[in-house]
Amino acid sequence: MKRGLTTFNIASLVIGFGFLYLPIVLLVIYSFNASRLVTVWGGFSTKWYASLFRNEQLLDAIWVTFRIGLISATIATVLGTFAAVALVRAGRFRGRTLFSGMIFAPLVMPEVILGLSLLLLFVSLGLPRGFWTVTVSHATVTMCYAAVVIQARLSAFDRQLEEAAQDLGCPPIKAFFAITLPNIAPAVAAAWMLAFTLSLDDLVIASFTSGPGSTTLPMRIYSQVRLGVSPEINAVSTLLIGLVATGVIAVYLFQMRKRREA
């Protein structure tokens, strides 16, 4: 077989990456646009970043989004770990298929329906909608993703390691924390990151379940865009992209270092 870069390969690479990254690159470039008009280049400026940090509403939304993300991702990871342990470890209990099916169903369920059903639940319970309803909803939905990620790792984990720990005098629960958890830690971390990211960019479910004072960043951006794209939005988006990219690169470097150590 022919190796190396053929014209065809280069073309597909350029087109593929172009589709993926051109809009993002444009967004980043225009966030440094001096002009108020989003589509007209008016010279380089960082003034939108400065004005962003004076925009209380946007800053509030960022702060709310991060708190929701942190809390819901943590809840989702803990619950997802439990679910994964139940699915991998419990063997064949009655209704196992139903249980695993139900865990994974929200992955394919339309978000609109999830959001609506959660809203109905909160209304019927008489819960005031706000910060905590969004957090709980995000935890519910992202838990499925966390369970899937952790389950994959857990089924590859050698159970004899836990048996060995117990054999050496370690009670089962302690063995899980001392032996199993450190060994599935990469998956747990990945599950947390995934849950956090999903929570960060969720618009649909947050729109259904939020209330006054709990407007998330995607909701704020969306509502502002409807009034016309402001360059501030470009700036905040660029910051988000930078943050996510830094996170991904940091995780990658960390794993590389671990691998070299290991």
């Binding site: 390691l161 050496l168 009670p171």
Partner: protein, 387 residues
Amino acid sequence: MTERSRPRLNIGAVRSTFAPWADPAAKPLVRFENVVKRFDGETAVNGVSLDIYQGEFFALLGPSGCGKTTLMRLLAGFETPDSGRITLAGEDLAGKPPHQRPVNMMFQSYALFPHLSVERNIAFGLKQQGMPKDQIADRVTEMLALVRLDGLARRKPHQLSGGQRQRVALARAIAPRPKMLLLDEPLAALDKKLREETQFELMALQQQLGMTFLIVTHDQEEAMVTADRIAVMRSGEIVQIGRPADVYEAPNSRYVADFIGDVNIFEGKAEFADGTTVRMSSPEAPGGFDIVEDDLLDVGSTAWLAVRPEKIEVHLDEPPPGPNRMAGKIEDIGYLGDWTTYLVELESGRTIRAARANAKRFVDRPVDWDDKVWLTFARDAGVVLTQ
């Protein structure tokens, strides 16, 4: 369990001063009483009763699926018996979870904790006991020296060779000084040379520590070399318990004779038995068999004679007629260096295995393919089996 009472012959290599099982006053360290374990209706262990004594190196030997590993896991606490009792030093183990049992196991896969260094692997059991830090450090150093791993304390398991990993697993299991060490196919992952070395190391270690070892293996050589006593298992039951030489030279059934080492089994009819000698007729040998055997067989009953290949002599010249003599043709020769195995086709069409130690470097007339040969064996070379 069917251990036949026969006057003990002086056979094989035995630690003649160590035989607690022969002492009626001796208390066993571990006692299995009628232990039964089923998995989904399949019986894995079927009414096993077994005593293991302090300081013994005991082997459970059998083919895969015979229940030997289940028996060990029952003792470690990873399985609970459906019925029967297991006691350790007189104490009933029922209801005790694995982490409260003073036995440690060395897993076939070694099950080393991949995220912990060698020293922290070894220290794991000690930490669970709540041993003070400085004592743990001393014990770990001692263990590392014992298994010759000094200098590798900081390595992670995946930075070690297979043999080194095996020794870490061993050190980790003996570090907390358990009452008993369970070894599940401990040498299965090692290559032949290393396996042989390690067998002798295990024996030396067991003597040095005075610890009771229970080894599970499907490798008869491993069991023969290491163990004081062997229990041969088949489909959940113990078929015979005895010293290695007992099960080899005095098997109690065709199954044991066949499972341990090579054997030729001749079917025949008992014609005479007086408590010292058994005479059998057989289609394989025109002169019949004449065997030293104290069993009083019923005349006319079917019996089997088991003769090991190394006890059969191969002659190129015709010996005088008589019992224990067969004629045949060399069908194949397997030269192993130390031994040569001959496959001899008898006149009846049966193929018999005979083996000869190559004690001399040169022979006047080597046995060749298609040579006409005569096979003979001594009166005490074979065992008469009735089952």
